[in-house]
């Protein structure tokens, strides 16, 4: 962003002002995440930087809260983590299957009422979570699935499919349909064509949609708060109760783990996106 030498002074000032604003916004976006790291190693029980930490005294830091998170007596994180992963994995699988099928149908030229159906399929992403929560709770209570893993998985499939539908339709928009016709004309049946030709080509979109669905489920708390009993507690629910009731630094240890997890997911998603862009480049 170097300025040409002929730039007038006022534009020069404006330019530095602009850079300063951008720096501030990037700082505003990313800095809050980094407060969590050092505080999670706090040796004391408070959620503030102690005097020792400010002096970088090694005694002020410890793994105490990580130890507490894993081995603490009667702490809920183990069960919550197990539940979170089970629910998120099944919800992701469900979202991928239903979402990919729907996206295939929606990308067909022959699909009737495409806009309307798309709007309905995307709506769980747009409707405020509290309303989705109330509606899904009424349904699950009626069919007796409230406070069960199945009920929560179904709820998260509802919330996760829009992401899969969006990413897979986006991938399919650059998809060359003549390859599937070629496969069919060479005698392949539709299922075989899908598994051998279409799926490998749209896989980046499917996986990145799946990642969105996973994160949505893994991070979702509003609907779970309505549906979950004590047995179905998840990491976000525990964090929610923790943040509302007793603020213990254990939460920060958990939060640090979650940030690491989201970094891993971000890297995967970015790699997939680039691969998909490269693949589409070849297709053209």
């Amino acid at each position: 962003m170097a300025l040409p030498s002929y730039t007038e002074t006022r534009y020069r000032i404006w330019h530095y002002f602009y850079i300063a604003i951008c720096t501030f916004v990037f700082f505003f976006l990313i800095a809050p995440l980094f407060v969590i790291f050092p505080l999670s190693f706090n040796a004391e029980e408070f959620l503030v930087f102690s005097e020792g930490m400010k002096r970088l005294d090694p005694d002020a830091f410890s793994f105490r809260w990580y130890h507490e998170m894993v081995y603490g007596t009667k702490n809920p994180w183990g069960l919550a983590a197990k539940n979170s992963f089970i629910i998120a994995i099944f919800a992701t699988i469900g979202s991928i299957v239903l979402g990919t099928l729907a996206a295939l149908g929606l990308s067909s030229r022959h699909m009737p009422y495409k806009g309307l159906i798309m709007a309905v399929l995307i709506s769980p992403m747009i409707v405020p979570l509290i309303i989705s929560g109330v509606a899904i709770f009424f349904f699950m209570a009626k069919v007796g699935l409230a406070a069960t893993h199945t009920g929560i998985v179904m709820a998260h499939i509802i919330l996760g499919t829009p992401f899969v539908v969006i990413t897979v339709t986006a991938t399919l928009s650059g998809f060359d349909h003549s390859v599937t016709r070629a496969a069919s004309s060479l005698g392949s049946n539709p299922v075989n064509t899908f598994m051998k030709i279409t799926l490998p080509l749209i896989l980046p979109g499917v996986i990145s949609g799946g990642l969105f669905a996973f994160v949505t489920s893994f991070d979702e708390v509003v609907v779970v708060l309505f549906l979950a009993g004590l047995e179905n507690t998840t990491i976000p629910v525990q964090m929610w109760t923790g943040l509302r009731e007793q603020l213990s630094p254990t939460i920060l240890a958990v939060a640090t783990c979650l940030i690491i997890l989201s970094t891993l997911i971000l890297v995967t998603a970015e790699l997939l996106r680039r691969r998909s862009e490269r693949l589409r480049g070849i297709n053209r």
Partner: protein, 420 residues
Amino acid sequence: MSSETKQILTTDGIPLEVSLKKAEKKNKIKAFLLVAPLLLFLFITYVFPIGEMFTRSVDDKMITNMLPKTFKAMEKWDGKELPPEDVFAGFYSDYKVLIENQTQGKLGQRLNKEKNGFNSITKKLMRQIKRNKIDESQSIKEQIMKVHKRWRDVEYWQAIKRTAPPYTMVKYLKGVDMYFAADGSIAQVDEDRRIHRILWLRTLEIALFVTIFCFLMGYPIAHLLATLPMKYSNLLMICVLLPFWTSLLVRTASWMILLQQQGVVNDFFVMIGLVADDSRPEMMYNKVGTYVAMTQILLPFMVLPLYSVMKTISPSLMRAGKSLGGTPFVAFWKVYFPLTIPGIGAGCLLVFILAIGYYITPALVGGASGTLISNQIAYHMKTTLDWSFASAMGLMLLSGVLVIYWIYNKLVGVDNIKLG
């Protein structure tokens, strides 16, 4: 032309046109069958339950089912003077059935909501009936009127008549701080009790300002990301995407740590001498906390649509504007800015839609003056258990969101939502 095409036959001897139509129809069904599982799943578990919220919110069948004979008799009553004998008789026999089923208490409570004082007079009537004090061969009207003077008051009978319809809009009126007055007209609740209107306005205000803040902060960085060379912008993009992928609760937690009175932001203010150490301002549990945290959390949803639009604007357009004599400001305002309007629309609508239904962050950092309509819905779902009121408020919020969603769909198209 058409007569000629009709004569073209496929190898099976079927006219081509018919055969093509058949194939077209087959393809339509095939495409629809692929969408059908998800559509069916969503309709059963999601769309119908939202519809059920509506029936729940207007449902008022309880009394209608409890007092069938009373309401039948009331059909002929004009509601101006005390009802005739057959209304009293109908009410007496309905009430006797309720006492036998031991559900008379619910009737008293429900009628008490309609008009104060019902609970005691229905209880009094119940005791008389249980002691067999009511002689069915005599005029029931006279005897009931003797039980308590309020039974002689026409207003109480009017109140019963008002509960006759199986559906009611009471919950919706309550949602905007109104109610049905005794004469059936719509009235406002007292000024000092209008809590819901404050909440609606506050929700709108916060959603609007968060959208504006996100726009003001998102526009410059989206511009920077779109104009920087790829290798730098990819790195900076991570600053946008990492918060996007990070758990909402983690981000809210970090704001709670930053904004608390002994928190990092206050420490910093004290260090640069902005505030004294003993008068640290309260930045959490009020609107400030809600604004700051929600802006940071929703900012990626503004940056990503803006970025994807700005990325498509060729830098040569700005150069052309400048070379034609425009100053950089003019070139930006007349050339660049209008081209980004689709992105602005998409980003602002998305942020507004998400902000208006926010629940978790306001509940944690908002305190009493930062709570939004969603928190009120959750409160009625979990604490007061007034589910029909929660449904009514939810649907009022939903209708607002659906209008914006419809505009969004018209302007941007749902299939153009960009993720990451």
